[in-house]
């Protein structure tokens, strides 16, 4: 069996049933819908407070038409946040390490913002391709550059999320392997490596949350340009 450090990212399956579906659906179990009470339980209250916070943050720069996007952006944010954080538990599988899934999330949403802009206000959307105040000679080059930067956005969104999470998980696995291997031969160095591992885990928790936020924030920015 050819074992490598990348085996943790292979899509898990049990007797031919892909388990990635369970990893994707599980965060929904942790988000109960609030009941009819005036004051709900602590979990629902916390969750409601958090969702209100995110939605207000995302919707402030958008005008009334953009508020139609509130549901999808907020649910995307909750999904990415929970899947990233759950992936830090031992032995769990993070579906957002799969490039296929991140591109499947990024591409349609970016395309939706682009088509909304081109359909409703085509000249304004195309006008974003040329920043104000460029010298006349540079205009053709700049339009090409801005078009490339526009077309590469979905790739960047997907790859950014994948690369950040994959790199984090790999680093954790490498450093923990080093810690356990060094425990028998050089315990002091092993303790130092353990300290590094602790700091890295804290960083990974932060990265998990930040990457989810960045994904959704960038999408809302693309929406602002086009709505």
């Amino acid at each position: 069996m050819n074992l490598s450090f990348f085996d943790q990212f292979s899509s898990p399956s049990l007797l031919g049933i892909p388990l990635i579906l369970i990893a994707m659906v599980f965060p929904a179990l942790l988000l109960p819908s609030p009941g009819n009470r005036w004051i709900n339980n602590r979990l629902s209250t916390l969750q409601l407070w958090f969702i209100n916070l995110i939605t207000k943050q995302l919707m402030i720069p958008l005008d009334k038409k953009g508020h139609k996007w509130a549901l999808i952006l907020t649910s995307l944010m909750m999904f990415l946040l929970l899947t990233n954080l759950l992936g830090l538990l031992p032995y769990t599988f993070t579906p957002t390490t799969q490039l296929s899934m991140n591109l499947a999330l990024a591409f349609p949403l970016w395309l939706a913002t682009l088509l909304t802009g081109l359909r409703n206000q085509p000249s304004v959307s195309l006008g974003h391709l040329l920043p104000e105040g460029t010298p006349t000679l540079l205009i053709p080059a700049l339009i090409l550059i801005e078009t490339t930067s526009l077309l590469i956005r979905p790739l960047a969104l997907g790859v950014r999320l994948t690369a950040n999470l994959t790199a984090g998980h790999l680093l954790i696995q490498l450093i923990s392997t080093a810690t356990t291997t060094l425990m028998t031969t050089m315990p002091v160095v092993s303790l130092l490596t353990l300290a590094v591992l602790l700091l890295l885990t804290i960083l990974e928790v932060a990265v998990a949350m930040i990457q989810a936020y960045v994904f959704v924030l960038l999408l809302s920015l693309y929406l602002q340009e086009n709505i």
Binding site: L3, N41, R42, L89, F93, T177
Partner: protein
């Protein structure tokens, strides 16, 4: 000897071992029945541990711990090769 309550209505903890087979035969194994059973299980757990006045960390921690254990069981066949390897 007819049971005081119909076998269909007895709870699992009250079923005698010999009656287990016939009890299982009375359960509803259609997809709708399985979804109903999962919904009932979820509601039982939710109302006992989470939907309480002063719920604490224990409610979700048990769910997360179960998720970790389940993931370990699913990945065991893959992870068991890592045990005493010199080069990973």
């Amino acid at each position: 000897l007819p049971a005081a309550v119909l076998l269909k209505d007895t709870k699992l903890m009250d079923v005698k071992l010999g009656q287990l087979g016939s009890w299982l035969a009375t359960r509803d194994f259609t997809p709708g029945g399985i979804m109903g059973a999962m919904r009932r299980g979820y509601e039982r757990y939710y109302n006992k541990y989470i939907n309480v006045r002063k719920g604490g960390l224990g409610g979700i921690s048990m769910v997360l711990a179960a998720y970790v254990v389940l993931s370990y069981m699913w990945s065991y066949s893959h992870v068991k090769h890592d045990r005493r390897r010199k080069y990973h």
